[in-house]
């Protein structure tokens, strides 16, 4: 330790490892989130708890389907990224790695479930239209 220079001790300890990149990635995604959350709060959130017919009609209108789909993908991405920070801050080294494996898997799983629901709702809507013909 006594023979290490200040320069040498500082090398590799800065934002090189992950900090600046993580900050930028979160900032990029938060611009998209800011827009999508507003649209979600206005268009999708009021449908929660509404009667089935209202929900089916609301979620299968083209604009709402795209908004909801984008919201699901963007949210699970943003969630994965920021849960990583929580693990780094509060969970002992080693466990945060295991936590991130689970979080990444869960994030994609949630994303898949959400998109599956939207596709299924559109199929239900299409079948209702076809059966009515």
């Amino acid at each position: 330790m006594h023979y290490i220079t200040d320069r040498k001790r500082a090398a590799g300890k800065g934002s090189l490892a992950h900090g600046a990149d993580h900050q930028l990635q979160v900032t990029y995604s938060s611009y998209m989130m800011a827009i999508l959350v507003v649209l979600f709060l206005i268009r999708i959130a009021p449908l929660i708890g509404a009667p089935y017919e209202v929900v089916l009609a609301g979620l299968t209108s083209p604009f709402n389907t795209v908004i909801c789909g984008l919201f699901i993908v963007s949210t699970t991405y943003h969630w994965r990224f920021n849960i990583k920070k929580v693990f780094e801050d509060y969970v002992p080294k080693g466990w945060d790695f295991a936590g991130m494996i689970i979080t990444t898997a869960l994030g994609w799983f949630f994303c898949g479930l959400g998109l599956y629901s939207l596709v299924k709702l559109m199929i239900i809507k299409a079948m209702i239209i076809v059966l009515a013909l």
Partner: protein, 131 residues
């Protein structure tokens, strides 16, 4: 310099001796609401999957999701948390441009997102109750 003892320095910030102020509270709340919104992801997915499962399943699941008193509190809390987290994020985007960093403006922004998110949550919740 190279031989300075670096393992025995005071740690910062000293949370116990800090006076609680709005910037500190609004910052911590962003993290709390962000983590709390994990519950929001699960509940919104539950709602979407229930709708995808057909009318009968939807009605049955809605009794759990919206049919009792605790559900109203949880959904209002989530709508508020989402509003707050969004406004807090926008505040950080503004700060990233090096705007509003002086103490007066920053404290005003802190109060603005706390009060603004409350107002936004009430408006959205009323829309949820109407439909």
């Amino acid at each position: 310099m190279a031989d300075v003892n670096q393992g025995n320095r005071p740690l910062s910030p000293h949370l116990q001796i800090y006076r609680t102020h709005i910037l500190m509270v609004s910052s911590i709340l962003i993290r709390i609401t962000g983590n709390g919104l994990t519950v929001g992801i699960v509940l919104v997915l539950w709602w979407l999957l229930a709708a995808a499962a057909g009318p009968e399943a939807y009605a049955a699941n809605m009794e759990w999701l919206t049919g009792w008193w605790l559900a109203y509190i949880v959904w209002f809390g989530l709508i508020w948390a989402l509003s707050y987290h969004m406004l807090g994020g926008i505040r950080h985007i503004i700060w990233d441009e090096a705007v509003g960093l002086d103490l007066k403006t920053a404290e005003k922004l802190g109060w603005a997102i706390v009060i603004g998110s409350g107002a936004l949550a009430v408006v959205i919740s009323i829309f949820m109750l109407i439909l």
